[in-house]
Amino acid sequence: MTHLADSPPLKAPRPEIARDWTRTLWTAFIWIALALLLIWSWGPAEMSRWTYLFTDADNMASYAAGFANPNFSEWRYYLAEMGVTIQIALWGTFLAAVLAIPFGVLSARNMAPWYIVQPVRRLMDIFRSIHELVFAVLFVVAVGLGPFAGVMALFIHTTGILAKLFSEAVEAVDPRPVEAIRSTGATRLQEVVFGVIPQVMPLWVSYALYRFESNVRAATVLGVIGAGGIGQVLFESIRGFYYGEAAAMLIIMLVTVSLIDLLSQQLRKLFL
């Protein structure tokens, strides 16, 4: 019969915990490797020029001062162009979301056999890994300067991203309701429509809205290479040293993107 007081838990010598040397060495190796990589990249990245940030700070200040007096005299025009940018993002995201549904389901391992999943995933990798700007240049050549080239560029790139996100959502669904639907004699497509899509809908909507926000920003950049919208106007005015006008456009873009952020947050709540 042992009493609690008899047992010596507090005074007992602590058992020596052996140091896990492999783990320690690995940790050290990773830190050293990171340090070597940083040193190796110092020269090519011209990091030695960091001193200019301080010695030539005046240049930056005088350049920034140009933006200090935003010129809103043409605000109607800027708003219209901002609208075009949003419209480009809207169509690009919409087309991508629609196409990402079949591609997303077909690249989910629990929905399709590997000989479909793997090719579809590789295709989506290609869509995703090539930047919108590259696609935009391609489409400017094909369909000419203007917003449509921007729509197509966003469409292709966003399809790759959304298909991957959608397929991850599909892979996380609860398989049990899907089985119950299969047991009614439903087809595979019907299993997806009634068993999978209701489960993933909130996530899908949330992802699509988030990509829409990102695409509004991306669409302004696409304007730089001639794909229409406010980006094109902004880039032209910066190149022409019209900093006041450029500042006005930047402010309009900032406000718009924030508003879209707020709006899509509210929309997402509706779908949860």
Binding site: P177, E179, A180, S183, T184, G185, T187, V193, F194, Q199
Partner: protein, 282 residues
């Protein structure tokens, strides 16, 4: 013609033998309990009968009302068509939580209506009326427009049974339908199953964890242990002493401590089928 006929069914998961040469026949209109401890193969057997799982290569055959649903480890060609005659009720109810209860029940139609009408969810007024009637039959007529996830466990299970009624299945397989329910919901669900069996002549196979429910609701019991049938006969013959003989110490798991004293009600209480709204609601 029997409802379910199983010949030499075997299934291994990895190295574990889940079903070991199981053969049995279940006649049309029977109400059969499948009992056994956890891991004895009850769920596996049920999942094989409805074709959600296939036996190992050369691992036997299953006929549903005279047509093969699987044989030799492969689903038969017409398995999808046969599935609509076999309604399945699961332990976790398996409703689509974000759809309304009525939509969930309507999904029972998918195997019977045209492909495009099913895929786009275009159900006729007649089908919707039938779905509401099915909900009334299982005693939850008032919850049709609620999301399925907002229902209590007992209500969800009854909605799942309503789905099999809409499916017009001739066979109802229930895989531990009451294992996740409190005792009073469990009784209600068993009553509904018994009523459906008695009044619609639907063959019911119910896997149960506790032998009391088998004795009370099912005339015939099949007992499994380690994937083999160790008893197949009238439930009344399955005494506690016999359970100890069959399962040894494991039999404790199968017998409830006597809380609800089933001896006081020797015959099944006959409840009216159509209840006014709210009486059944948990």
């Amino acid at each position: 013609m029997g409802a379910i006929s199983i010949r030499n069914l075997s299934k291994t998961f990895g190295k574990k033998l889940a079903l070991d040469n199981v053969s049995l026949d279940i006649g049309s209109g029977e109400m059969v309990a499948l009992i056994g401890a956890s891991g004895s193969g009850k769920s596996t057997l049920i999942r094989h009968i409805c074709g959600l799982e296939t036996a190992q290569y050369g691992g036997g055959a299953i006929d549903i009302m005279g047509s093969q649903i699987q044989g030799g480890g492969r689903l038969a060609h017409g398995a999808r068509r046969l599935r609509r005659d076999v309604g399945v009720v699961f332990q976790q109810f398996n409703l689509v939580g974000r759809l309304s209860v009525l939509s969930n029940v309507l999904l029972g139609n998918l195997g019977r209506i045209s492909l495009w009408r099913g895929t786009f969810g275009l159900f006729t007024g007649e089908e919707k009326r039938a779905a509401r009637e099915a909900l009334a039959r299982v005693g939850i007529p008032e919850v049709g427009w609620q999301r399925a996830s907002t229902l209590s466990g007992g209500q969800q299970q009854r909605a799942a049974i309503a789905r099999t009624l809409v499916q017009k299945s001739r066979i109802l397989l229930a895989d531990e339908p009451i294992a996740s329910l409190d005792p009073s919901s469990a009784r209600r669900v068993m009553e509904v199953l018994a009523t459906v069996n008695r009044e619609n002549g639907i063959t019911c196979v119910v896997s149960l964890h506790q032998v009391e429910y088998a004795r009370r609701y099912c005339p015939r019991t099949i007992a499994l242990r380690d994937g083999r049938i160790v008893f197949d006969g009238p439930s009344a013959e399955l005494t506690n002493a016999m359970l100890v003989e069959l399962y040894g110490d494991g039999s404790e798991e199968l017998v409830l401590p006597d809380i609800e004293a089933p001896k006081k009600t020797p015959s099944r209480p006959v409840r009216p089928v159509l209840k006014p709204a709210g009486v059944f609601a948990a």
